[in-house]
């Protein structure tokens, strides 16, 4: 059966399941066969069957999304709803009337603001970028015209921020394929191509935190410019791009939204034989595996190179292989064409056990959720097993030909991000250092001995611009150690802490094995003159069980005392993911003052006896 026939079979299965009211089965069938690259005829079938599933049946976390388009977006919206559900979000969508982007954004009384969007997607296209330049225009005129066009977009962002505070996703210019100057068009800044290229660069530069760019230029290039600009449907119904690209655009936007909501993946779990190299290391030996030389060998080396770049941007790599440990490690140590080294791998599991169990162990060692992991294995039977046993794990459908591995992994867009911080580069190292710490822990007789031998020092500092991206990232991406799951953008944080009585304090942790980086932040707010409220407390799970919580609590007590507060109040708002900290305040000797299914409120009375929170961490103050 061909790809299309396969999908049609899935559609028929889903339709049957919907008729039988087995909505979970219907959705899992649709999700399993979803593909952003499908033509529109298929995409529309997926979307319409998905629309037949009652939202309540899937019980996905809700998301209020506004889609404002200068063209016709009516065919995109149902596809986006389906792909957002695949990301784990139940979207409620506000769609503006055709070509009313400016009106709805600039009018504070518009239906857009009545809708209260959490995220607003602005879908414009190259026609909306008003840059008019004469042939041979001077460089400064080009710049001025481009900047004026960027300012026009930025004006809308500012209005959205002022009127709603929603996150904005802005599309850039999908540069047309037609070039009146031919190849020379790209050589001069005043041509349409030259000006739009500059516009896209400047637009991205101008986007503040809280505004993410949907790169329509990249999407249209990958799709093919001549197919993308299907003039027939622009003339007929103001569709700004080919309907067959609907899935790619919807997927691009859905992935950004997933990243904003902290749903992007964090870790790739890799098989070894026929995944990182060709052949079986246990049988073929280091000199016998295909890696580096020959068409397959080059493909495997390139796949490793791609993984290495993922690691360098902060994606954790782990190995899960059915092999003897020593044999499995050997290519990493001795094969000259291995792009990945042992130090790139944060957790290395080689055994003959069940892979689902090994993946559970990897998740536990890294302290990350199974739903933030991607499993990559050439063996369909292993993939099936992991899918069945660990439905939270994303399993990549690898093609048979290693030449297609990079396309498959890249195309799945698992690792979308809306920000980048210096911490990302070091993330793999942090997790690898943890494995070394685990080794020390095994040598120590008891936990106190281990904590002492770690020689930990924490740096305490106040929010400042250099650490802003990392703090925002922690607050927006952490799910487990996050007492209130508050989400604040960089600009929110700056604005909040400008108000007297509100401060954001960050914590870094170092020990003898290395720097754990900036691993925690708290936002403290005065609630009247006597009470200091912990609005937000987030911590990276990679430093759990090292008395860091106690240390931070001690710091909060110090801040409260210096501020003359009498009580500290903290809340726990339960989510599916933060059960870890349900009893945190209890452990820290806070008293429960209120509890209902929506959450619990805890209080520490500073006039009574307050525990000594001193643990095993020495304090250093951040250099101003």
């Amino acid at each position: 059966m061909g790809e299309r026939e396969n999908k049609k079979a899935v559609l028929a299965e889903a339709k049957k399941a919907i008729a039988a009211k087995d909505y979970a089965l219907a959705f899992s069938a649709l999700k399993g066969a979803a593909s952003s690259g499908c033509d529109f005829a298929l995409q529309a079938r997926f979307a319409s069957l998905f629309a037949a599933i009652p939202a309540a049946a899937l019980n996905l976390p809700r998301l209020r999304l506004a889609v404002l388009s200068s063209g016709t977006a009516s065919h995109l919206v149902p596809v986006m709803k389906f792909l957002l559900a695949c990301e784990g979000l139940g979207a409620e969508v506000f769609e503006s009337e055709y070509d009313t982007v400016h009106q709805v954004i600039l009018d504070p009384q518009s239906a857009l603001y009545a809708f209260k969007p959490e995220i607003t997607l602005i879908l414009t296209n190259y026609r909306d970028v008003r840059i008019s330049l004469g042939h041979g225009a001077a460089a400064e005129d080009v710049k001025a015209a481009v900047h004026a066009a960027v300012r026009s977009a930025a004006g809308l962002w500012a209005a959205l921020k002022k009127n709603s505070g929603c996150h904005v996703i802005q599309s850039n210019a999908d540069i047309p394929a037609h070039r009146v100057l031919g190849n020379y068009e790209g050589s001069v800044p005043w041509s349409r191509l030259g000006a739009l290229r500059l516009y896209n660069l400047e637009l991205a530069k101008a986007a503040p935190a809280g505004v993410s760019i949907l790169d329509m230029e990249a999407i249209s290039s990958a799709f093919g410019k001549t197919r993308w600009h299907d003039a027939r449907f622009w003339y007929h119904s103001k569709h700004t791009f080919s309907l067959d690209a609907t899935g790619l655009v919807a997927c691009g936007a859905a992935k950004i939204i997933g990243a904003i909501k902290g749903l992007a993946k964090k870790c790739v779990v890799l098989d070894l034989d026929n995944t990182l190299w060709g052949g079986v290391i246990g049988d073929d030996g280091v000199s016998g595996i295909a890696l580096g030389d020959g068409p397959d060998g080059e493909a495997f080396a390139d796949f490793q190179g791609y993984l290495k770049r993922l690691k360098e941007r902060g994606i954790i790599l782990a190995v899960c292989s059915k092999n003897e440990e020593e044999a499995a490690r050997e290519p990493f140590l001795t094969h000259p064409d291995m792009q990945l080294k042992l130090e790139d791998i944060s957790v290395f599991k080689a055994s003959w056990g069940n892979k689902a169990d090994a993946i559970r162990q990897i998740a536990a060692e890294l302290n990350i959720g199974l739903d933030s992991m991607v499993f990559v294995d050439d063996n369909p039977a292993e993939r099936q097993l992991v899918r069945a046993e660990l439905p939270e794990v994303s399993v990549l459908e690898l093609p048979a030909d290693p030449a297609g591995y990079v396309d498959a992994l890249d195309g799945a867009m698992y690792f979308e991000t809306v920000a980048f911080s210096a911490e990302d580069v070091k993330r793999g190292d942090y997790y690898r250092d943890n494995a070394v710490r685990a080794g020390l822990q095994q040598q120590c007789a008891n936990i106190e001995d281990y904590l002492k031998k770690l020689e930990m020092t924490a740096v305490v500092g106040e929010l400042e611009p250099m650490h802003l991206p990392r703090i925002a990232q922690l607050i927006n991406k952490s799910n487990q150690f996050h007492l209130t799951t508050t989400r604040y953008s960089e600009s929110d944080l700056t604005a909040m802490t400008a108000v007297p009585g509100c401060r954001c304090v960050y914590f870094k942790l170092k020990d003898r094995f290395g720097d754990n980086g900036l691993i925690s932040a708290v936002i403290l707010k005065a609630a009247g003159a006597e009470i200091l409220e912990i609005d937000t407390w987030v911590m990276s799970c990679r430093v759990l069980a090292r008395t860091m919580e106690e240390f931070i609590c001690g710091e909060i007590v110090g801040i409260a005392r210096r501020g003359g507060y009498k009580k500290i109040r903290g809340r726990y708002l339960p989510t599916k993911k933060n059960k870890l900290v349900e009893r945190l305040y209890e452990r820290l000797n806070f008293k429960l003052i209120r509890e209902d299914p929506g959450g619990a409120e805890w209080e520490l009375d500073l006039s009574g006896p307050v525990p000594d929170y001193a643990g095993y961490i020495a304090k250093a103050v951040a250099a101003a």
């Binding site: 339709k15 529109f40 005829a41 007929h236 119904s237 569709h239």
Partner: protein
């Protein structure tokens, strides 16, 4: 390229209609227009056109896209242009 038989066109077009409008009971007739199918509005019309283009490997002109609001015209256009 070989022309396809009218019966074959009707059979395949029926299948496209049934998929697009999600209705297995649809029976096509030459006289049928957008008025005869409740959900055949301007939005679904686009989905229908794109699905017909895909099924028969044809491309309609910009001007034709909006005009084909009855099955008879669609059949004669496909009889003229569609190939196996």
């Amino acid at each position: 390229m070989a022309k396809i038989e009218k019966d074959e066109i009707v059979r395949r077009l029926t299948s496209v209609f049934r998929d697009v409008f999600d209705d297995e009971t649809i029976q096509l007739s030459e006289e049928m227009t957008a008025k005869d199918i409740d959900t055949w509005d301007s939005l679904m019309h686009i989905t229908l056109v794109v699905s017909v283009e895909k099924e028969f490997g044809v491309k309609l002109n910009a001007g034709e896209i909006g005009k084909l609001k009855n099955v008879g015209e669609m059949l004669s256009l496909l009889a003229e242009r569609a190939s196996l």
